[in-house]
């Protein structure tokens, strides 16, 4: 489709190694999830989804209330909430804090929100070093790539790719054994943890009634990020709020299972405020940066607002047959797959990447596995209509629009429909000459044989049958 990155999509489809990497990784995640939410393991799964949806709906509908509650509870624990409208404001805040505290090195645990605002690039421009400490993110940082997947950022890389990246960037021998690769990363990162002045994390949940930031992870790097440096900054979108600690019972049950099939991730950290007297570890200063970056725009539409319920489990990506073909990097933003296809146009405007809502067969597998029941296909349809309407206002997309207008007219005039269908059949011998000149036909024929129109349509059969009866 016009505007879509057709060339790189084709490259992805033509790369058997990459296809296998995407397929096997997503297949593994799908299988693990299916096991973890099965009737025998989690009999209340569907009820939990409904409950999660209701909690998110309630929170997003009363976001102002919960934001204030969260803010005052963070302050009560000695922390500070900083509201930022966009990436520039986040960078300004972190840079000025770093300057005041004479900080030079920042360690980061995995955070899609900081990916969203190109946090590292902002800091690097000011001679601050920011090091990713999640293994996958670390590999990507060395390779100068963006995440391929919300949960498994280096899903597309094999151990041979990693060996190459490490030897090129870290000056180590080419090592293809995964355990040894982990050890290489670990020793490089341990140094960074010890030297770091600031630790930056994202947040999986912001708990309003306790002012806690909840971070889930499997590698322990978020724990080190939030305890070793003197300053901890959590950067989170405003939609991460949940009302109460007990709501975590719903969300933590769903998140790990939906993402990787784990009943619970290896580490779940509850971070509320700086170290108190008598505590052995924790930072001296604790900040929560609450980022808008376009999120409030999504609040305006009562239907599309549900896009903000997402808890970033990545299940919709794993189950999406389109994501599984084209991978993560062909999506225009850091959020890929079905969730990316619905939030990107809402954040950036529908005309920025007008092809995106159309890159779906509307199979609905995403909605079926979404733990918070976001109606992704419905939103894709809404966005499609918004794209065609926006194009109309811009005076673009005329040929397709006229095509559908004609089509609707024909389909609401049965005798014309039947006459045209007969004409089509009569001239079907000319098809080979017509196909290359008509784009939809040519596109169809690029992959498959064109179906032949029947000599006698059902209409025809029925009419003849009536006559002979």
């Amino acid at each position: 489709m016009t505007g879509a990155p057709s060339e790189t999509i084709q490259q992805t489809l033509d790369d058997p190694r990459l296809q296998l990497a995407i397929y096997s990784a997503t297949h593994r995640l799908m299988t693990h999830r299916a096991g973890a939410v099965g009737e025998d393991r989690l009999p209340d799964y569907q009820k939990l989804r409904t409950h999660a949806n209701e909690i998110k709906k309630h929170t997003i509908d009363h976001l102002d209330f919960y934001l204030e509650r969260f803010e005052s509870n963070v302050a009560a624990h000695g922390g500070k909430v900083v509201y930022c409208a966009d990436s520039q404001e986040v960078a300004d805040f972190v840079l000025s804090l770093a300057k005041e505290r004479q900080a030079r090195l920042i360690v980061k645990s995995k955070s899609m929100t900081t990916e969203e605002i190109h946090f590292n690039e902002h800091l690097e421009r000011h001679q601050l070093e920011a090091v990713e400490t999640d293994l996958g993110e670390y590999i990507l940082q060395l390779a100068h790539q963006r995440p391929y997947h919300i949960v498994a950022p280096a899903l597309h890389l094999t151990r041979y790719d990693v060996a190459e990246i490490f030897s090129k960037n870290l000056g180590v021998a080419n090592e293809v054994v995964i355990e040894k690769q982990t050890r290489i990363a670990r020793s490089a990162l341990r140094e960074k943890f010890l030297q770091a002045d600031i630790g930056v994390t994202g947040a999986n949940f912001l708990v309003a009634d306790s002012g806690a930031v909840v971070v889930v992870e499997n590698e322990g790097n978020a724990r080190l990020t939030t305890s070793a440096p003197k300053i901890h900054i959590a950067v989170a979108g405003i939609e991460k709020l949940i009302p109460r600690v007990q709501d975590l019972g719903v969300f933590l049950t769903l998140l790990g299972r939906s993402a990787t099939g784990q009943p619970l991730t290896v580490y779940t950290s509850f971070l509320s405020g700086p170290r108190r007297s008598g505590e052995v570890d924790g930072p001296d200063e604790f900040y929560v940066v609450l980022l808008d970056n376009g999120r409030t725009k999504l609040l305006a539409d009562p239907d599309k607002r549900q896009s903000l319920y997402c808890i970033r489990c990545g299940a919709c990506l794993n189950h999406c047959p389109v994501y599984r073909k084209i991978g993560g990097h062909n999506y225009p933003w850091v959020y890929s797959g079905p969730i990316g296809a619905i939030i990107t146009p809402q954040f950036h405007g529908v005309l920025k990447d007008p092809w995106l809502p159309f890159a779906s067969s509307l199979c609905g597998a995403c909605a079926e596995v979404c733990p918070v029941k976001i109606e992704i296909p419905k939103l894709l349809l809404k966005l499609r209509a918004e794209v065609t309407e926006a194009k109309r206002r811009e005076g673009a997309g005329g040929a397709e629009r006229w095509g559908f207008r004609m089509w609707a007219w024909v389909m609401s005039h049965p005798w014309i429909y039947l006459m045209l269908a007969r004409l089509g059949w009569r001239f079907s011998a000319m098809l080979p000459r017509i196909v290359p000149k008509v784009e939809p036909l040519a596109n169809w024929a690029s992959q498959r044989e064109i179906p032949e129109l029947a000599e006698t349509s059902f209409h025809g059969w029925w009419a003849r049958r009536k006559e002979t009866k």
């Binding site: 067969s361 509307l362 199979c363 597998a365 559908f404 089509w407 498959r448 029925w462």
Partner: protein
Amino acid sequence: MFVTCIVDQVFPQVGIAMTQVLEQLGYQVDFPRGQTCCGQPAFNSGYPGEAATVARHFLDVFRDAEFIVAPSGSCAAMIEHHYEDIFANNRKLLERARALAPRVWEFSRFLLEVAKVDDLGARYDAVVTYHDSCHALRELHIKDGPRRLLTKVQGLTLREMEAAEECCGFGGTFSVKFPEVSGGMARTKIDAILKTEAGAVVSIDSSCLMQLKGVIDRAKLPIRTLHLAEILAAR
């Protein structure tokens, strides 16, 4: 009967088979002659207004039907679920759509839930595999029904494929807007079908079958594509 536009023009044998099965059960089958399409192509392409024009025509044509049986989960889901969205701002038409929706029946569901039969006395000597079409599966929650009907067919062996629930890649205009991705999805599906060594793939949606047949024919593979109605009418 609403035979759908694809069956009318490309696969009339499916409509004929459906007629035979329904008449054999003693139903008086009517085929309103003004019928064309349910409007889904426009709706899925971002033209709800054009879809509404066609949907309105559908409401007129089928105004008096007692049961509207369609050989398609996708078209039935369009009428049952999405006419609501199309007519959201038109109370009168919305009411008409709502009154019509419960009278729409996907073919296999009609057999099992209205006619209450699962054995049609059909005979088909072959190993077949069943493809779950997405809209039937996820919007109408049809999964076991067609399989139940198939296992009652004499001489037929139903062999499940891996990932039977995965999309064939058709997706309406998606198939021509992203042909390479759509074709790739179909080829993945066909690989799964080939692994079962079945001689035919069966579905309750002719649009999926049109997509699969196109790719199967291009690769000259020995797999037939059959609508459930064709099997149930076979003797």
